[in-house]
């Protein structure tokens, strides 16, 4: 093993870390908002059908095909090329982010739906009796209970999204995987380079697992045999 090569490789791979983190956090934020919207839509019959179809399509197809569809496919429509969105959709960064957001929203909305279903009816009724409006009930009763319920499943989704960001390297973006890919075609020392990249991703995912575990224990201490947070 060539230590200087590995150290140098680590340094150049870490230059892709900001982009990976950026895509990861923004796609989670965007996907989370869209997931909430999809769940609110489910209250009407038409909205329910639309949300169901959305989830079906985005969960039933590979993310890679969604990325390519947005990056290569949308450019084929004159309407989009002449719209104000074109300066964004021309850039691989925005296409990648859009695909990640849309994909994450489908998975997160299902996780959130499970959490919402677990909210006891009585708590919502109690809120209504106390004179809370719909927004106040959502903000102070339904969402806190649902999020707590959904946290274990959501922590898996957070890690899946970290892994999913690696796919944007296929549309020329230089995240950690993109830099690794370029370095492989320069040096042909694939195994060393890929192991370096894997170590960075692994460290990130272990940190997230720990943080989520800590948050879970804090939010529902009674599950872990403690009464005060």
């Amino acid at each position: 093993m060539d230590v200087t090569f590995l150290a140098g490789m680590f340094q150049s791979l870490l230059k892709g870390l900001p982009l990976t983190l950026n895509l990861w956090l923004l796609s989670l934020a965007g996907g989370g908002c869209l997931a909430l919207l999809l769940n609110l839509m489910r209250q009407s019959r038409v909205g329910n059908a639309v949300a169901g179809a959305y989830v079906f399509v985005f969960r039933g197809t590979p993310l890679l095909i969604q990325i390519f569809m947005i990056y290569y496919g949308l450019a084929g429509f004159g309407v989009i090329r002449h719209s104000i969105l074109w300066p964004f959709l021309r850039e691989p960064y925005w296409c990648g982010l859009l695909a990640l957001v849309l994909n994450d929203a489908a998975y997160t909305s299902e996780i959130l739906r499970g959490g919402l279903r677990a909210v006891p009816r009585g708590t919502v009724e109690a809120g209504r009796v106390s004179g809370m409006g719909r927004i106040a009930i959502l903000r102070r009763i339904t969402l806190p209970l649902a999020i707590r319920q959904a946290l274990p499943a959501y922590s898996n989704e957070i890690i899946s999204m970290l892994k999913a960001t690696a796919l944007v390297s296929t549309i020329t973006l230089m995240d950690i995987t993109g830099i690794a890919r370029a370095a492989i075609s320069e040096t042909w020392r694939a195994v060393e380079i890929l192991l370096c990249a894997a170590v960075i991703y692994l460290a990130l995912s272990i940190i997230v697992t720990r943080l989520c575990g800590w948050l879970e224990r804090r939010l529902s201490p009674w599950h872990f045999g403690r009464t005060t947070p």
Binding site: I65, F68, G76, F77, A180, A190, V191, L194, Y201
Partner: protein, 240 residues
């Protein structure tokens, strides 16, 4: 409507080629899933019944494969496999260039990834088997293998089915990543078709359609299996 004709089975149509690519996706997914099943069973076994060293190894394996992007694992097998084959080949005195099959690299890589998930499902299913039934089997004088075949497996299979269905769905979607090795499966074939005809959206949409058909049909199959496996269980109903 000339564009839709591109998806047909006529002389200019890509229909036949895409159908073949769909079958290749199915083939590589099934191979990878079985690979993952064998390895996943071993990993689950190590985590349940192994000694401390085996348990730690199995746990490290699961954590690693679940924390590293799938595409890196596939690159590792493809490029790394080529490196190894080239090194061995040169050492044995063969003349290059060396290459390895994208199918084998993809199958092994996705199998390894899936094994991590499958081992968790299997472990959970084993833990849900009532301990009394295992003890009862032991008391009746069953050996380890008989106990597994007649008591543990039938009960664990029922619990494991929904989780295994999810793992299979992931495998199908991960199989699209094998396209980076050049294996001509759905993803690769629609990229080629899109590049040739310049009808990018049409062909990627067709590709998405192929994946949807595969995932939906296999989901139905898993549900059917689930219903069958619940036959005769009290309280679950037969038609539900």
């Amino acid at each position: 409507m000339g564009e839709i004709g591109l998806l047909g089975f006529g002389p200019d149509g890509w229909g036949l080629v895409l159908a073949k690519a769909g079958l290749m996706t199915l083939a590589v997914s099934v191979a990878a899933f079985l690979c993952g099943l064998v390895l996943g069973t071993l990993v689950a076994w190590a985590r349940i019944g192994g000694n401390a060293v085996l348990r730690a190894l199995a746990e490290a394996y699961t954590v690693t494969l679940r924390g590293v992007p799938d595409i890196l694992v596939i690159y590792l097998f493809y490029f790394g496999g080529r490196q190894v084959v080239a090194a061995v080949g040169t050492a044995l005195g063969f003349a290059g260039p060396f290459d390895i099959s994208g199918f084998a690299a993809g199958m092994l890589a996705i199998g390894l990834i899936s094994a991590a998930g499958q081992s968790e499902v299997l472990r959970g299913a084993y833990q849900a088997v009532p301990k009394g039934t295992i003890e009862a089997g032991r008391v009746c004088g069953m050996g380890r293998f008989t106990l597994f075949r007649r008591v543990i497996a039938p009960q664990a299979m029922v619990t494991a089915l929904p989780g295994m269905g999810n793992q299979w769905q992931s495998v199908i979607k991960e199989s699209a990543l094998v396209s980076v090795t050049g294996l001509v499966e759905t993803m690769r074939q629609v990229s080629v078709a899109a590049g040739t005809t310049q009808e990018h959206f049409l062909f990627y949409a067709a590709g998405a359609g192929i994946y949807l058909v595969i995932t939906t049909l296999s989901d139905q199959l898993f549900r059917l299996a689930e219903r069958r496996s619940l036959r005769g269980h009290p309280g679950t109903g037969t038609g539900a």
